[in-house]
């Protein structure tokens, strides 16, 4: 079937898009093809691991949670309704794994400052092109700034700015209304910028 659709696309003169290839891989993986599942794992596991690392703030715990995410995904591939949303689906499973892990560890640390976040927008400096380079020091500061966000808010922000999910898919993954997703991401951005403003050039 995948071969047939590939032949059709070649005959039509259009190369298969990345999404077409992913759909074909998913069909094969659902039919029990381990090579297809392996390719999907290799495509998506770095993003899933990074998401879990950013949520758990612990690389070893992220290793284990990533494996758990894909074990669950392997058993439930048939339950994925929208084949075009594999990435969001995996990140949704990862979030559940994270929540279970957090409960089992009894960890709940929320560092947030709503009031302060609401009044910082006006004083942010304008970044210069040099600021685009993320050196190791800035990368560490970015990780710390992300860690200062409330966990759920951090997850929503990362789904948008790191994993590129549309707001509608974030709404589905987080179980929030679209308006809440937009509000939370906006607030998260303001807080992140406030944390990093001192390290960004331009006007103070």
């Amino acid at each position: 079937m995948a071969l047939l659709s590939a032949v059709k696309m070649v005959l039509a003169g259009a190369p298969p898009s990345d999404m077409d290839r992913e759909r074909a891989l998913l069909r094969r993986a659902r039919a029990g093809d381990p090579a297809a599942f392996r390719t999907l794992f290799e495509r998506h596991s770095p993003g899933v691991w990074r998401f879990l690392r950013d949520l758990l703030r612990d690389e070893a715990a992220a290793d284990e949670a990533t494996q758990e995410t894909f074990v669950r995904a392997h058993g439930r591939l048939g339950a994925l309704r929208d084949q075009d949303r594999l990435g969001a689906w995996l990140l949704g499973i990862a979030r559940h794994v994270y929540l279970e892990s957090r409960r089992s560890r009894g960890v709940h640390v929320d560092v947030d400052d709503e009031e302060h976040a609401s009044r910082v927008e006006a004083v942010l400096p304008t970044p210069t092109p040099e600021d685009l380079l993320l050196d190791r020091e800035l990368e560490g500061l970015l990780a710390d700034a992300l860690g200062m966000l409330r966990e759920e808010r951090r997850a929503a922000l990362l789904l948008r700015i790191d994993h590129g999910l549309p707001y509608e898919e974030i709404s589905s993954v987080m179980g929030w209304s679209l308006q809440k997703v937009k509000n939370e991401i906006h607030r998260a951005r303001l807080q992140l910028r406030e944390q990093l403003a001192a390290h960004v050039g331009g006007r103070p």
Binding site: A65, Q67, G75, T126, Y167
Partner: protein
């Protein structure tokens, strides 16, 4: 100004706007210093995140062979009672053990094994009550629920 919406600027950078909306937002940004400022920050964030993603380290968890090994581990099946006459084998074993213990205790005490209808009836009724212990069913239900939830995968260790 109602036209200043960071969500739209974000969608512009993500390529999620229709050509008409993209042209409208572009035109607005040209005339709005606040939106240009916000757009610069949004570009900065995207750039940082892209660099960070490219630096995702090689981790053992990202090796497919590690996942294969985990998938190959024998799953612990949820406890499911067998259908038919074997469904109550656990209860039968408990009843048999209790009967043996009862007879053994009676013999040790030196008294005769009650043969009359009344005492035997009472003893059997007691054994019957022991057989109706609901804890086995409750445990089975819990195991079935956990099995469904964890998909035959161990709980993430608490560190």
């Amino acid at each position: 100004m109602s036209a200043c919406r960071e969500g739209e600027l974000d969608a512009l950078l993500a390529g999620e706007l229709s050509p008409e909306d993209a042209a409208r937002v572009d035109a607005h940004v040209d005339t709005c210093p606040a939106c240009r400022h916000a757009l610069t920050w949004l570009r900065l964030e995207r750039g940082w995140m892209a660099q960070r993603a490219r630096r995702t380290p090689a981790r053992p968890a990202l090796s497919f062979s590690a996942l294969e090994a985990r998938l190959a581990r024998p799953a612990i099946p949820p406890w499911v009672p067998l259908p038919g006459s074997w469904a109550n084998w656990g209860k039968m074993m408990m009843a048999a053990a209790a009967t043996v213990a009862f007879v053994g205790l009676s013999l040790m005490q030196g008294g005769p094994v009650p043969l009359g209808d009344e005492p035997r009836g009472r003893d059997v009724r007691m054994l019957g009550e022991a057989c109706e212990d609901p804890s086995g069913e409750a445990v089975a239900a819990l195991e079935a629920a956990l099995g469904a939830c964890l998909v035959a995968s161990p709980v993430i260790s608490s560190r």
